[in-house]
């Protein structure tokens, strides 16, 4: 049984109590205060899942922070070495459960890289792009909503869910699942789009452009919100590169790097050459470059860019097959390869190695949340408790991915 802690400052006679020349005894009370160690998590509303941050606080001031991981560890990578290539696909859904399409895509691309001679049909590539970008919008909507919750605004969360619900309904029509899709698979996509689906996506894009303005006015430009996030948790470009941050965390610090443009995969090179989308960067508009507001702004701005990409794909898409020539039981030729894709949270890398069999020899994942999380320890000391919540929120981690 743990003895209950009592928060009483220790009051005792100090060693410095001494006898004054007049003969009087001078008493000095030694009133000492200690830093408060407090567990933020694993069950805490601001840790976005089951992460634990061990905080040392001096009053409201955070003097130390140490993230602890592993509460959601499910041995995903080890499972990847024990199940068949295609069977592993549903496990990829579960590491970053907010962007399952992108996870499917990353794994599929990595495996396809080893399968020489496999042609991915054009239609499949474009459907993949549409799904990945819609999923990015859905994921950033969660980031937008939950960041509002962290700062104390409830309503944006429900607004964000209104549109996210629509995206989920679209995904449900295409693959039957709302969160864990397993739709993008090795060789293409699982099946063709249902009739009218592409038109509905176009309609969604039209509506979303209106709603996006609403989000922007409601939270991004909100005076209290700006006061809470500007100049908080500043990551300089140098620091961001040192920590290996990727995605909006990196671009929020003003580093112009996006895998979709700089190491293009699928149709992104083509789309980028056509100038169909921009890469939003943090500009230090409201405070210092690389603060929480910049990171948040990059996410919100990226939603619109994703919509532009979806529109480009909708224009370019033509009827055709959606699944390449893959056998029922996939055997991957011996070799190894790494493919990194731009997940909503940063670079999601898959390293797969094959010995030519039905099962992977090695299957390793580089999760963006895990890498981005590392910066917390340096960022949080010296901020107030409320700021530390803002900082955790601005990293936009998904604990399923940090632990895998």
């Amino acid at each position: 049984m743990v003895e209950a802690q009592k928060y009483k400052p220790s009051m005792q006679l100090s060693d410095e109590s001494r006898v004054l020349p007049s003969g009087e005894r001078e008493f000095m009370l030694d009133v000492s205060t200690a830093d408060l160690e407090v567990n933020m998590g694993p069950q805490h509303p601001a840790t976005h899942g089951v992460m634990r941050v061990l905080l040392r606080t001096d009053g409201e001031l955070v003097t130390g922070a140490q993230p602890h991981l592993g509460y959601l560890h499910r041995c995903a990578e080890k499972i990847g070495e024990n199940v068949e290539w295609l069977q592993y696909l549903p496990y990829t859904d579960r590491y970053d459960y907010l962007s399952a399409m992108n996870n499917n895509l990353g794994y599929s691309l990595a495996v396809e890289g080893l399968m020489t001679g496999l042609e991915i049909p054009r239609r499949a590539t474009l459907i993949r792009t549409i799904c990945a970008e819609l999923n990015r919008v859905a994921s950033h909507l969660i980031a937008y909503g939950t960041y509002g919750l962290d700062i104390g605004a409830f309503t944006p969360f429900f607004y964000a869910f209104r549109e996210r619900e629509w995206i989920q309904a679209l995904f449900e029509k295409i693959c039957g699942a709302r969160l864990t899709y397993s739709y993008i698979r090795i060789g293409g996509v699982f099946n063709d789009t249902p009739p009218g689906w592409l038109q509905e996506v176009g309609h969604f894009c039209d509506v979303f452009e209106d709603k996006w303005r609403e989000y922007y006015d409601l939270l991004v430009e909100n005076h209290i919100f700006v006061k809470r996030t500007a100049d908080i948790g500043v990551i300089s470009a140098e620091m961001a590169l040192d920590f290996g941050l990727t995605g909006p965390m990196l671009r929020g610090s003003g580093v112009d790097f996006d895998l979709r443009r700089d190491m293009p995969y699928m149709a992104y090179g083509e789309i980028s050459d056509a100038g169909a989308f921009d890469i939003p960067l943090g500009r230090g508009e409201k405070g210092t470059l690389g603060d929480c507001w910049d990171r948040f702004y990059v996410r919100v701005a990226e939603m619109m860019e994703s919509i532009k990409i979806v529109r480009w794909c909708l224009d370019a898409i033509e009827p055709g097959p959606v699944l390449g020539d893959v056998p029922k039981v996939i055997k991957v030729p011996a070799g190894e390869g790494y493919v990194g894709i731009e997940n909503p949270r940063g670079e999601l890398g898959h390293y797969v190695a094959s010995s030519g069999g039905k099962v992977a020899l090695r299957c390793r994942v580089r999760g963006p949340s895990f890498t981005n999380l590392a910066v917390l320890e340096d960022l949080m000391p010296g901020t107030l408790l409320a700021d530390s919540v803002a900082i955790i929120g601005s990293t936009d981690i998904v604990v399923g991915e940090t632990d895998r």
Partner: protein, 366 residues
């Protein structure tokens, strides 16, 4: 003049001569307490339901729709029953007496402040010449209960909540009191009942806000401070669920938790009514004016009912405004609350007091 509305009422019934006077006093007190508790509880229950509907409609949803039938009107009652049925939990290591007393202090101080609240010209619990002092004093007493709850819970998150409450209380109580001075000067009274009288005029629109140019800015300051006083967003720092789990409420559950909840809504109504009485005409409205013109006196039952309806509606307009703000704005950080209270609101309130005083001095010359 001593005002004893309930005792007078009992005496009009003509009690038998053998009933001792202290028994009459006790009955009168019981009657008063019972009535005030019932009215305020009903108002708080309605406010909770209103909050759910308001937040629901702001957030593109309906809120409760099933319990009781019509738009989930019985949802709060159902929740109240659930909370009463819950296990009474006191965490290990908690300071038991303080833990138990804290919700009682919070609730009783707010209900006590309600005593100074007149419900119409002839229906009040106590006619106090310094009624607004009583309300402010008892309103700040809730802070003691909150700090007590935070300390006694033996939880670090609760302690943070209590610290925040103790820190922010000073920052907003000063501008709150100073801002109230402005209408007090314009109306020339501390009594809530007299404040209403002072705002009676043609068409019932001689409100304090139209009597002195400094009253409107003073109202804005008062309203911001009142939001902090009631621990409502954007000043809900002691609770701050995304930062402190639930702040001082973290370890509370069941009926004790519901006491804090009830207190919050009662305090919202109290602050709104204070705003209505000192800034927006009290019982006075065109309808009150028309009723008084038609029935001749303030004591006529119809006029009393109109007065009661006016003050309740004005109060709920204030409550609705608080809810609207809560579901729109993000939360402010603790240092920003302090900065706002000390550096902006207090000097502004002092400036308002100065302007109001000069204005009144000039008016008194004519």
């Amino acid at each position: 003049m001593e005002q004893r509305p309930f005792l007078d009422f009992l005496e009009t019934l003509g009690p038998p001569a053998w009933v001792p006077e202290w028994a009459l006093w006790l009955t009168a007190a019981g009657l008063g307490v019972g009535l005030i508790t019932t009215i305020i509880s009903l108002i708080a229950l309605f406010s909770i339901w209103l909050e759910r509907k308001v937040s629901g409609h702001i957030q593109c949803r309906y809120g409760p729709m099933y319990a009781g039938g019509w738009h989930g009107w019985a949802q709060t009652i159902a929740d109240g029953v659930k909370l009463m049925m819950k296990e009474d939990m006191i965490p290990t290591g908690a300071d038991k007496p303080l833990f138990v007393i804290a919700p009682a202090i919070v609730l009783s101080s707010i209900f006590g402040a309600m005593v100074a609240l007149p419900l119409s010209y002839g229906f009040y619990f106590a006619q106090m010449d310094l009624g607004i002092f009583m309300i402010l004093a008892l309103g700040s007493t809730t802070t003691i209960g909150v700090v007590m709850a935070g300390w006694a819970s033996n939880s670090k998150w609760s302690l943070y909540g209590a610290m925040r409450e103790a820190a922010q209380v000073v920052a907003y109580e000063i501008p709150l009191g100073l801002a109230l001075l402005v209408p007090l000067m314009a109306l020339g009274t501390f009594s809530l009942l007299d404040a209403s009288h002072a705002q009676a005029g043609f068409f019932g629109m001689n409100w304090a806000i139209f009597q002195n140019p400094a009253v409107l800015p003073a109202f804005v300051i008062f309203w911001v401070a009142a939001l902090a006083e009631t621990k409502r967003a954007p000043f809900d720092l002691p609770e701050a669920e995304s930062e402190l789990v639930a702040g001082f409420l973290t370890e509370y559950s069941g009926i004790r938790w519901s006491f804090f909840f009830l207190e919050e809504y009662a305090a919202m109504f109290l602050m709104s009514v204070v705003a209505a009485v000192f800034f927006f005409g009290g019982f006075e409205s065109p309808l009150t004016w028309a009723a008084r013109e038609a029935f001749g006196s303030n004591t006529h039952i119809v006029v009393q009912l109109v007065c009661f309806g006016t003050i309740v509606i004005k109060g709920f307009i204030g409550v609705f405004l608080m809810m609207w703000l809560r579901w729109t704005l993000p939360r402010i950080r603790i240092d920003q609350v302090m900065t706002m209270g000390y550096k902006y609101l207090t000097p502004l309130a002092l400036a308002c007091v100065l302007v109001a005083a000069i204005w009144e001095a000039i008016l008194s010359l004519f």
